[in-house]
């Protein structure tokens, strides 16, 4: 172990260096401690060797007791450790035209000559660097755990000074961009930005420095990072300014969102595919049911005409055949008409607007007056709110539910009551009847298309009324369900969005 005697200048530098690390020891990497210990030891030795009495009072007294052997051990430890900090500082200082340390034989400290400033094991003392490092320490936290978190964070983190030069990066940045940190420190941040965005990035950076606030970068724009190998990848960047005595620095948190983007794109593609196939299906149902009506009308009309003109004029069998034809065609006509109504809910709906539900209900009841009176039913309702709805479909919904309640009545006259209650940001409507009720085993089937729970003839209808009701509600982003007690009655519930406030 050889040590060249330090001049006063060297000693001052070394002391500055030590001061700095003493102050920030806790927040810097563990390696720093070893380095600083080594440097302190050097200074101690120098002091002991007759140099100027270095500011011993700023160091723990124990330091001054260190022996040469101890220094040797510590230096060796540091060399073995080959810590990242060494590489980083060495590189960054090289950029700053500082002097490199010369590390010769293991465990030997060689002091640089002439303008060389002392380097302890590859650490240059450079006031500028110290200031930068100080900013790092101040900008983040004075805590070692934070420092570790910075390094171990799963997202890339880079700190940039006011000039846009990279001050520090973490492991993830190295992995994301394919650069070693020594290649990044001191470089403009634009190194990591695709060439076509660099100019704009510089401008935005300038603007950000003018009014620095924590925010996401380029919200609404697609951002890309540029790897060392020239490839690009989509990123999301959070910006966090921090200003200290040494000026503004910006911590940028960079996440690689390639995977998320891929998933998102796949999802969007699937969604649009689904939507298209859904629309196609709806269109198909609409066109099919619409175009089937015409020929069907012919079949029904002529079958009816046949039965009108030739009933009893052929033989008994012919009468029966004609009757079957008329019945079958008529039933099909109803099915097709229902299917058409159903497919119209999706394809022919009007935009949702604020609608007075009570006015719609009153109109619906008025339209159903004859049916209601024929079944001696009593339909009552509470005051109903404004909702955001397609009024035609809302009327259809009321009509379907009321018809349902009228149809499935018991001996006594049907009584139907409609009410609404606020439920979070929606209204929950109820249509209550005193009818035959629905057996719980049918709960799942009741909203399915063409499902009838009773034999033909007892209750007519194609079994699509509730399916249409459900589709209407789904178009309004609501929910429909029911509660029922056999022989007591059924209550259908559905939710509708409250009417948007004016001006919205």
């Amino acid at each position: 172990m050889q040590l060249t005697k330090l001049g006063p200048e060297h000693q001052r530098c070394l002391k500055d260096y030590l001061d700095f690390f003493e102050r920030h020891r806790a927040s810097l990497l563990p390696e720093v401690e070893r380095v600083s210990a080594a440097a302190a030891a050097i200074l101690d030795v120098q002091g002991a060797a007759g140099g100027e009495p270095a500011a011993h009072d700023t160091f723990p007294p124990s330091r001054s007791q260190r022996t040469l052997a101890e220094i040797s051990t510590r230096c060796g430890q540091f060399v073995d450790g080959g810590g990242k900090l060494e590489v980083w500082l060495t590189a960054s200082l090289a950029v700053r035209k500082s002097v490199l340390a010369v590390l010769r034989d293991e465990g030997t400290i060689q002091i640089g000559e002439e303008q060389s400033i002392l380097l302890g094991l590859g650490i240059t003392l450079d006031v500028a660097t110290a200031a930068v490092a100080q900013r790092i320490a101040e900008g983040e936290s004075a805590d070692a755990p934070f420092r570790i978190a910075f390094e171990a964070a799963p997202t890339g983190m880079v700190i940039v000074d006011r000039q846009g030069l990279i001050v520090v990066v973490n492991c993830q940045i190295e992995q994301l961009f394919g650069y070693g940190r020594q290649e990044l420190i001191g470089q403009p941040i634009e190194l990591l930005v695709p060439v076509r965005f660099r100019e704009a990035h510089r401008r935005h950076r300038g603007a950000f420095a003018e009014s620095p606030t924590s925010r996401m970068m380029g919200v609404g724009r697609d951002l890309y990072g540029l790897r060392k190998d020239g490839s690009e990848f989509p990123v999301e960047i959070g910006l966090n300014p921090s200003s200290s005595a040494t000026g503004l620095s910006i911590l940028a948190v960079i996440a690689d969102i390639s995977e998320r983007k891929r998933t998102q794109e796949a999802l969007v593609a699937k969604m649009s595919e689904l939507q298209r196939s859904n629309e196609e299906l709806e269109q198909f149902a609409y066109v099919a049911s619409h175009d089937m009506q015409e020929p069907l009308r012919m079949v029904v009309s002529y079958a009816t005409l046949l039965s009108e003109r030739y009933q009893g004029k052929l033989d008994e069998k012919a009468d029966k055949f004609i009757r079957y034809a008329v019945e079958g065609a008529t039933r099909m006509q109803h099915l097709v008409a229902d299917l058409l109504t159903y497919s119209r809910v999706g394809s022919q709906g009007r935009p949702l607007k604020p609608v007075n539900a009570q006015a719609v209900l009153e109109k619906t009841i008025e339209g159903m007056r004859k049916t209601i009176d024929d079944s001696a039913a009593k339909v009552t309702y509470d005051q109903l709110p404004m909702v955001n709805a397609d009024s035609v479909q809302l009327a259809q919904l009321f009509q379907n539910l009321i018809s349902n309640a009228l149809k499935f009545h018991r001996e006594e006259p049907p009584r139907i009551h409609i009410a609404a209650k606020p439920a979070e940001d929606k209204w929950r409507f109820s249509v209550q009847d005193n009818g035959i009720g629905i057996e719980s085993e049918h709960h799942d089937r009741i909203f399915q298309m063409f499902q009838r729970l009773h034999e033909r003839g007892k209750y007519d209808g194609s079994g699509i009324g509730l399916t249409i009701a459900k589709k209407i509600i789904e178009r309004h982003r609501g929910r429909i369900w029911f509660e029922s007690q056999l022989g007591q009655g059924t209550t259908f519930f559905f939710t509708l969005p409250t009417a948007a406030r004016e001006g919205k």
Binding site: R297, M298, V300, Y302, L305
Partner: protein, 147 residues
């Protein structure tokens, strides 16, 4: 009493529909002379007495289907209502469409009324009877142009 039969022009491409309308009209007590045109161009030929319709009688009423080949019902309706010679002839649109768009457009083009064909034969028959009852017994039609 007018002994001359009323002239009715049925513009309809589907022969089954033509027969259905004729069946309904045949049961009428009103004396009717029914002519048929199969599409918009054929109807225009009829109204102008051209082509296969040379010497055709000017109709007192037109029953018009909207969906026709070649020149469709809307175009024909527009042609009739923009023609100073023909525009007085009442046109009853008889369509299977219940679309608001079709209804509004027909009236905009000058239709005298719009009627949806019922899918039910009996209702359809009733409608046809109402049409002739209204237009040939209640309505004062424009006086016939002689010659």
């Amino acid at each position: 009493m007018i002994t001359d039969p009323f002239h009715l022009l049925l513009v309809e491409d589907n022969p089954a529909d033509v027969d259905l309308a004729k069946e309904a009209l045949d049961q009428s007590r009103i004396k009717l002379d029914i002519s048929v045109a199969n599409d918009g161009l054929d109807a225009m030929d009829y109204l102008r007495g051209r082509g296969r319709h040379v010497g055709a009688c000017r109709p007192d009423l037109i029953l018009l289907d909207l969906n026709l080949p070649r020149r469709n019902g809307r175009e024909l309706l527009a042609d009739i209502k923009q023609d100073p010679d023909l525009k007085r002839i009442p046109v009853v649109v008889l369509s299977s469409s219940e679309a608001e768009k079709d209804i509004l457009q027909s009236y905009d083009l000058g239709a005298n009324c719009y009627i949806s064909k019922s899918v039910d034969l009996r209702v359809f028959q009733k409608i046809v009877h109402s049409i002739e009852g209204f237009w040939f017994t209640i309505v004062k039609l424009p006086p016939r142009i002689e010659g």
